[in-house]
Subunit: 349 residues, 2 copies
């Protein structure tokens, strides 16, 4: 009897394992090797951006704090070189300042319309919580100030390797607590791209937790909302996105460097796991090739489920954050026009 | 002299060809072979849908009208078998009718709230302009009537192989001209998925052209807005989307069968090439693995550029139209809740 039962059990277990294995094999989508060309459904300037080779630094794996600092300095230098032309083109003025003890840049548009005098945008730059310290992180703020005609405070938050979590967020919150002393939060939006988008979300989650006033609107562009390699396009857009390319390069390393042992799924690090109830109106942006398309749409769906007035826009063919890659591209102007409309609609005067 | 000039020209031309070849080679993104698993960022029901094997019919290439009819009958039968359960689950009643000389189904929700008595939804079913004739095309109408609590007219438009373009659109317009005689167009929305989404767009373009009143809102779900293989995700999501899989299967054949020699880029066939000025408020839906993600976002961007109040939602991990694949999935309810809110906001009473 015992032997028979055991045999039956063995057969049952084997069958179960076998059928779950079949299921797993069916579930896996096998994608053949292939070459994908640049789509002709975007502007020539955007075709050039989409056609760029994979980011030359995507699979760097700095081994020490010093290695990181060399890479950070190199990328900052390249970015800084582009800023004088950008400032001139957009007619924006950039001044270093200190707000609530935190370094920041005040970016003023060439002309400040009467209706925007009492408005303020708070900007968090991107760069995986490691790149673009100091003035090198002001590019997006310059474009946004120039286009929206609104003043922007770009926060030069502290970053790893010297200052891991929660330094960056602490700095952003210190600036927030300070600016709402002099500007009505109903007249303020918070925005940023990639890490800046993730920080935008984390700031509101933390402001909610601390009982602080919330901004009137937020604009997280392709937010790094999940610091773990979780979400479909981390896999489906791998090697297709020419900006981030894969989580298995510097990106995944930067997540761990920033978290410094904290749980990567803590909503203060991966805000997609946060509670979006009561969030202000939000506009989210991504692209069809973006490694963070899932990071973006997962937040959008969670916000909609929580009843948030959340808009989504997804740009054809674009990899991560390419709506900022060429200030002269029609798609960049289109993106900034949407932001301008959105802020103008939701911000008080 | 002549020889020297010719030599110089030859060198210049060769250099130009060579550099453009280098550029072209750089622009191509080489994607290695790989296996992609089902994301765990969707509900278990949606994981089952996403994990389904590739559509068993995707690479059918019917060679004759009779071959098409066999395939059409087979798919219709399978779909019909699912409808009794769907009708019962949603509590909707389906009655055949004729409107403006065109066959249609009147789908009535189990309970019709007072505020919806004067409202009407016009539905165009999907199926590549060939599949789901007769009652087999009513599934989406049943779900939508049941969930929104609104009456739905589902148009059983004529299709190839017997009736190519413009029969389908002529039928849809005949229904439109008829229903606006008895229901205020301000109380009507037009909606549909895939081919139904493309037809929704084409109907409004044609109504504009003919000077007819427009509906109060439209909801094109992952619209077949471009009948040619144009747009990035036709390529990037090829073999990843388990529903359509590729344009190189029955889908591309169906486009040609329907067009019957007409220009595939005519906006009445590929509405993405139309003029969206003056379009009513529109909600567009797609998924990150959808072969028609580009078909969806290209329309969204064109609408936004034309100043249309156009919303976009993109569901995590979903292939083509999978927001309709399992009526019990939370994502399906989420989709239908968004549609309900949108119609309720924009339709008069």
């Amino acid at each position: 009897m015992k032997t028979t039962r055991l045999a039956a059990l063995t057969i049952a277990v084997t069958a179960a394992l076998f059928s779950s294995q079949i299921l797993a094999e069916q579930s896996v989508r096998h994608l053949p090797e292939r070459d994908v060309t640049v789509p002709d459904t975007v502007s020539p300037s955007m075709q050039a951006v989409i056609g760029r080779p994979l980011s030359p630094i995507w699979r760097e794996h700095p081994k020490s704090a010093d290695d990181w600092k060399v890479l950070i300095a190199r990328t900052a230098e390249a970015r800084l070189a582009t800023l004088p032309d950008l400032r001139e083109r957009l007619g924006a003025k950039v001044e270093p300042t200190v707000i609530g003890g935190v370094k920041a840049y005040l970016v003023t548009p060439g002309s400040l319309p009467e209706g925007n005098r009492n408005r303020l945008l708070v900007h968090l730059h991107g760069g995986g919580y490691v790149f673009f310290p100091g003035e090198s992180g002001t590019g997006e703020a310059i474009m946004t100030a120039g286009y929206t005609g609104m003043r922007v405070i770009s926060v030069d938050y502290r970053m790893p390797p010297d200052f891991p979590y929660p330094a960056a967020l602490d700095d952003a919150m210190a600036v927030w607590r300070e600016v709402i002393k002099t500007t009505d939060p109903k007249n303020i939006a918070i925005f940023g791209t990639s890490t800046g988008g993730g920080m935008t979300l984390a700031m509101v989650l933390r402001a909610k937790k601390e009982g602080l006033p919330l901004p009137a609107a937020t604009a997280p562009g392709t937010p790094w909302s999940d610091l773990t390699k979780t979400g479909d396009t981390y896999f489906t857009n791998e090697m297709l996105d020419n900006v981030l390319v894969s989580d298995d390069g510097w990106l995944g390393d930067a997540a761990k460097l920033y978290a410094n042992g904290h749980d990567l799924k803590d909503p203060m690090l991966s805000p997609v796991y946060g509670d979006f109830q009561g969030f202000p109106p939000t506009i989210l942006t991504s692209g069809t090739r973006d490694l963070f398309l899932s990071n973006t749409v997962r937040v959008h769906r969670k916000m909609r489920a929580a009843g948030v007035d959340a808009e989504l826009q997804v740009f054809e063919g674009q990899s991560h954050a390419q709506y900022l890659a060429d200030p002269t591209a029609p798609e960049t102007r289109e993106y900034l026009a949407e932001l301008t409309r959105f802020f103008d609609k939701h911000l008080g005067k």
